[in-house]
Structure formats: C-alpha cells, structure tokens
Amino acid sequence: MTNAAQPAAAQPAPAHAALDPALRRDLCFAVQEFNADYADTLDRGDIEAWPGFFTEDGVYRLIARDNADAGLPLSLMSCEGMGMLKDRAYAIAHTEMFAPRYVLHVISPARVSDYRGGLISAQANYAILETLVDEPTRLLQCGRYRDTFVMHGDRLLLKERNCVYDTVLVPTCVVYPP
C-alpha cells in the first residue's frame, strides 16, 4: 500500500547556489522584519491594511497540505492581484458574519533560499492561535509560508505568498488570512 500522505509537491527545492553569507543575513533580517509587521497588522485586526503587503500583481494562496501533496490546485483562499486582495479584505471587514476573535501569529525565523533577478525566495513556518469569547485558545493553523519577495524602495513586498497548512481538518473556518 502506498502512503499518499508522503510529502511531494509541497516541498520546495533545496537552496540553489550558496548566497554570500552577509547578504543572506541581511535578507533574512529583512524578511523577518516584514513577517513581524505582517503578523502585527493581522493580529491587530487591521485586515484592510493587509493588501498593502503585496505588489500590484501579488498572489496569495492558502493551500491544504493534502491538496498540495496530491497536486490538486484548489485553494482555501486565493487572490490574484491587488483587486482580489482588496475584495477579500473588504469582505472580511464588512460582509462576513463571524464571532469576534483574537488571532495570534507565531512565525519562525525565515530561511532565504535564493536571491536572483531581484526576487527573494524565502520560507518560514507559522502557527496561528485563535481565541473566541468564553472558549479556550486553540490552534487554528500551522503551516509554512513559501514566499517570493521583491524590494520596493526600502521595503519588501510579497510577489507571492503560498501558505501550505498541515492542519488539514480546519476547525469551523478560517476568517482572517494566515
């Protein structure tokens, strides 16, 4: 019997040619600063500021690990470009009905695997804790960011963020994008 749960497609390629260690350190630091800002914005509930972390053609996807491993293209959330990012942010802020909640991102140190043609490839693991009124805090998601950043002036922007989550059986729903 084959084990279909073996990781396959979800695994990024190993780091390419070695980056200059000082450059890698600088890039890792920049990505970590970025992730700290990103987490803080979502954890404060400022969802309408979330699209600002992406380029105009930025792509965001939230993908269950079992779909990724099976090569199935469905995402739990997917935004292609600023219009869809803003529409999702607007919908969460103004049209969705959900119980009030705190979310808290915990993001691991980033690993920068490549820097070529102005594109930074990076990964980090994330966990999201969710707390509802009169309920114990629970683990909403754990997964991995697979990112491509570009430098925009003196700050980074996401050209692509794929969040591949291990917590395949989602508890109720995911309201705020991880």
Binding site: D66, N67, R138, L140
Partner: protein, 423 residues
Amino acid sequence: MTNTSRFDPDDGATPDDVSDLRWPADPAEIPDWIYTDRRIYDLEQARIFRGHTWNYVALDVELPQPGDYIRSYIGDTPIIVARDADGRVRAFENRCAHRGAEFCKSYRGSTKQFVCPYHQWTYDLSGALVSVPFRRGVKGLGGMPADFELGAHNLRSLNVTTRHGVVFASFQDDIESFEDYLGPEMLDQFDTVFDGRTLKLLGVHRNTLQGNWKLYQENLKDPYHATLLHTYLTTFGLFVAGNKTMIMTDAKGRHSTLCNARPQGRPDNDPSKSEIRSFHAAMQLADPRVIQLIPEKDSPWTSNAITIWPNLILLRQTNILGARQIVPMGPNQFMLIWTTFGFADDSPEMEQHRLRQNNIFGPGGFIGIDDNEAIKFVQDGVMRSVPRHGVAPLGKDEEGPDVVITDRAIRSMYRHYRAEMGL
C-alpha cells in the same frame, strides 16, 4: 494543545428507550434534544445512515485506475472506496476483521491490496480476506483453527451504485434504485449538476463544524437566511430578494433543491430590497471575475443548492461545482468534506475561473464562513440554554415552489425524519 476533536469516544450501545422525549404537537416546533441527545444520535446512525438510504461516498474521478482508493464515511463509520481489478467501484468498512484496526490512514492512494499493519491480514480490492500470516502456526504449533475460513472474515462490504460519475453506498442490500430514491424532480436537478460529462477533481476542503449534522441540511433548506445572513451575496448582487427563485422537495420531503436565477448585469435598487440592510446598488468588486458568470449550462437557474438525504449537498453556484459530504461526529459536531470539481474538457482558462470563483465557498469562503459560524451559534444556544423548542413557522406547507420566504422544506424534512426515527 489539540487542534480539533477526535470522533466522540462515547460510543455506547444503541439505545432503545427514548420514550422520555416527546415531539411537540405544533408542526412548526422543533425540539432541542434532536441536536444534543446522544441516544437520538445513535438511533440516527442505525436507522438513517445504516438504514435504507443512499449515502454519497466519492466521485468516480477520484478513483480513475484499478487500485485507486480514498477514505470516506457513511454516517460516522469510516469506509474505503476503491476501484477493483475489474474496474468496479467497491466500498467496505475501514475496520480490520481481526482485532478491529482502522487500517487505512491515507486520504487517497493506490494499492494492489490492503494490509492491516497490526497482524498483516491482507484484503484484496473487493475487501475479501486473501491471507493471514502463520495460518498453520510455527512448526505445526499454534495458528488458526483447522476450520478457519478466510471467506468468513472479509471486510464488511457495502452496496454501491453510481450515477453520472457519483458514487453512493448503502449498508442495505434491499433498497430501491438510486433513481427511485431521488424521484423524478430531484433526479432532474441532480442531472443539472452532473450531466454525464467526465469530471475533473480540483481539490478537497475539510473542516469540522461545532454543530449537529442536521443543522447543515436545514441550512440548505432555508431560503429565509440566504439574503439576510449572506451579506456578500447581496452586497455584490449575486442573490437578492426578488430574484427568480424556487424551493422544491421530493414526494417524501427528504430531498430538496433551492434554485436561483441571477439577473443579467447588476440588479437595480428596487423597494422590495429595502428590508435587506446590506444591499448597496453601487457596490462593485474591484475584481469582478470572482462572481462573473460564464454561461455553460442549458438551465434557467444560475445556482442550484440540492440536498440529498441524508449526507450530501450538491452546489452549483455560477461556475462553481461541488459536493459537500456530511460526516456526523457525535451529536454536537460534524465534519464537512467539500469535493470541488470541474469538467475534464474545461479549457485552462475555465479551470482557473472555477478555482478563482471557489473563494466564495469552503471553510474560508465568503458564504462558507457565514454558514459555518451561524451553525456554531445555534449549537451553542441549544446546548447551553434551558431546553425549549425552536420554531420553523414561515410559509405554508401547501404553497408552491415559488414561495421562498418559507420553512416548508425544513418541516418536510422533519416529517420524514420522525417517520424514519419512530419519534
């Protein structure tokens, strides 16, 4: 810390005495205990899910080759659906006949046979036991009794039927055909979603909901909430009161369909919509591709929400196609498996369009979030308050399908439910 719960471990004996539970006399009233009582839950598993029902278990396209299999469920019972060497779809319990191990722990895969890891009892793709280790013991000592028959220890196999690429299974062999089970009107609706073209699997969402499984059936038989809860639909003009809409049930009242025809272009701000607080005629999506309708069906409806008793919701909304399987997990929780698909002959653009549009559904979807949350609100209420009866009083039972501000389909489901359950 746990992410979510396991199956309810309180798997007591099937109850026989529910005589303390009295259904209210008023047909509009629904008692809280059908959502919370463990005895009722166990009785449902026996009488409904293991009774004379056809349960959705898979799509044909999930098992394209002999040896392909997926994990699935009937009620809360884990099963395996597999394609055998002859290409026939089989379904059997995911429980070893030896000591009971739930031996298949993968969502999907491909195999020649199933080997239970505990003592390596080996079953073929039809679920038949084909070998057991140490059958004659070691050096003639121990081993199986002389009269041990492999054939008496097969996996418990299920009755299987398919229609237009959809696989249904039943614990019962003496059951009407799937076509008779649906009845002519619902079969016509079913064929609107599954017209016989080869499907293409796009992916699966899975989530748990903190509610009784029947609340999900109710939700899809409840047109009242559609324009009130789902602000996204009304804000962006997908479904507003006053659209051409109908709700219809089969003769037995157990299945239903809620159909809606979206107006071409954006609806005008007319006075009949003034009760819907969220309707803004001016509101536009920055990227309207998410709700764009690409005509592809010869149907007067742009959405069909079909409930097939007891465990399937079929949803065709704009260009989204999906099957939602309900898996009860104790009285207060269920799992939903959202299998999302397109057609094998879709162009790459059409497939991308369907994937993009799926932002609307699923446990992160613009409509999915609302329903999932509302169901938890209801369960929290019925579990934690002093028990009383909820009411489903809207509309009249004898009204036709065009009357949509109605609870008619919820009442008809519970008439059928009471008959099946002997309540």
